[in-house]
Symmetry: C2
Subunit: 336 residues, 2 copies
């Protein structure tokens, strides 16, 4: 028999109300007490949203969609689109709320969605990163998109950065390149993507028997000049690279400026491969940019699919698998 | 006293059910009959949503947001953001639905939103154009964003393209340029923006006493190579322009490639100004692109504001003003 909120209270030696406060993410619970309650939930395999679901009297056919900051990463809007298409196919509507990466906004957003009796919530980040959602999110089935919770409390889907970095590098190697510059993303701000792709880059080099030359790898900050500036530095090396892997298509646009400024041609003198498949950039550069796509729409669809499975399931499996990694495909244009 | 649906039926000489069919946008009504019903509504000053509003038993605190195609113009996502911020401030949530510019999708979307008892609907296009929304939209208060209905049936907000074209050209003139190339948007696909900006371009030239040289104006198709190709043609003129006004920032990225390829410098040899302020392109080019911003977020906010006024008003004014035109501001970076 499934554990109830009262079982949890008894096991943790606290009142029913305290457990409820923890579930509601209220700040009034002392950290030690909160931890005791969460431990008791773990021991008893208590799934909070089971209770919440029973409390609901009827289906709302509505799913909440919480995103951190659509505005600063508009290209990731395909996540919303994928989620909408999938929801629509199941007769569900999305209630979309933006948190602007503000903790209080997020708590309010979740509370509002719960009041509207959403059947579940997808929680999307606009770039691949670690998140710690407000505990209230546990009151309904929830799935994370393009982000993950470090303790594995939620089902999650993310891009396979290692595979993407490998594919980009392998594509350049297949075109005969031996010295491949890599303008990687900021290793702090974009830790997951930066580390995964670097590891894919190294694996592709190793598989081809090519040496890893640290001088060819530059880590960008988040400043917009970095594609230009770091490419300029790579091209001014005595033994300059003949190919360039850019951490995103925006930086590739800056890289084009540095390459052209030196009177070099793309791809004859320097081949360029980007990342993201931000079509509004990639297709408009000349030559059009070959790049690795982020599976935004697929992640949006998968997130809602998985969420609807969780909503339909009577018993959610107590363990959550590692984030599902979706393949980042190659989009061939003319720059390699 | 306000006209009822029965008054309309009587005046048009049709059944109550036929009027209802027209309001529901059903295809089963013959065009001539439909016209008679619409004429009767006009004569009697009948406002369909008044009835619909009375039918609602309680406030839903929800607004519908219908958009045509977020996916292909992700930069316009700021419209959604502006709408969300404004709705949020009034304790309202947005139900966001995408129609993919498909008539059946649109009819379904409106029907679904009405079932959810939304208090009103904002209908947003992802670029400035003429639209003819499904008649069902008239059942609740509705406001158009970044689009307009040619017969003026709806309140609408659009960018002031003429002012933006004038500001772009004037900015280049103020920097001493006398021969200003203009790579304009497709005159069919982007009719509103293309015509408005050309008219602003001409006014700025005339005000400065500069001749209008048709050879300097090129009209793009929607193909992504056009920024590059048309700029190349302008630069290969015997008396080449010293400055370039590009119809959007995407085409400006292609223009940079053509300029650099010829060994020319920006802005020393050729100044460039874009349109849209698509930051993910404009900030990443080197030099960063000076451009004219589209007031996406402001349009989103205004649309919801106006909608909430219409929802609150007992009597909607029977006449609808011309679309409100919002100013497109200059965003100074380093390319002029």
């Amino acid at each position: 028999m499934a554990a109830t909120i009262r079982d949890v209270a008894k096991h943790a030696g606290v009142s029913f109300k305290t457990v409820s406060r923890v579930l509601n993410g209220e700040a009034t619970v002392r950290p030690a007490t909160r931890q005791r309650v969460l431990d008791a939930m773990g021991t008893l395999d208590y799934t909070p949203h089971h209770t919440a679901r029973q409390m609901r009297t009827r289906r709302s056919n509505t799913i909440g969609f919480i995103s951190d900051e659509i505005a600063t990463s508009p290209f990731a809007v395909d996540i919303v689109k994928g989620a909408q298409l999938e929801a629509w196919q199941h007769g569900m509507l999305l209630l979309v709320v933006n948190t602007e990466r503000d903790g209080q906004h997020e708590a309010d957003a979740i509370a509002t969605l719960l009041e509207r009796r959403v059947e579940g919530i997808v929680y999307a980040a606009m770039f691949h990163r670690s998140v710690e959602p407000n505990d209230r999110l546990r009151q309904v089935p929830a799935v994370l998109i393009d982000c993950f919770e470090p303790n594995g409390r939620y089902h999650a889907v993310v891009p396979d950065e290692e595979q993407g970095g490998h594919l980009a590098t392998r594509t350049l190697i297949d075109h005969g390149h031996r010295r491949i510059g890599f303008v990687n993303l900021d290793p702090v701000a974009s830790a997951a993507a930066s580390a995964g792709r670097l590891s894919g880059y190294r694996r592709a080099l190793a598989e081809a028997g090519l040496p890893f030359d640290p001088e060819l790898v530059r880590h960008a900050t988040t400043a917009p000049d970095q594609g230009y500036t770091l490419t300029a530095a790579l091209l001014d090396l005595e033994d300059r690279p003949t190919a360039l892997f850019c951490g995103n298509d925006r930086m590739a646009a800056g890289a084009y400026c540095a390459i052209y400024e030196r009177g070099l041609r793309i791809p004859t003198d320097v081949a360029v491969i980007g990342y993201d498949d931000q079509e509004e950039i990639a297709a408009y550069l000349m030559p059009a940019l070959t790049t690795i796509a982020l599976p935004h729409q697929a992640m949006g669809r998968w997130g809602v699919q998985r969420l609807l499975e969780l909503v339909a399931a009577d018993d959610e499996p107590p363990t959550v698998a590692a984030p599902l990694r979706l393949t980042c495909p190659l989009v061939r244009r003319d720059s390699v």
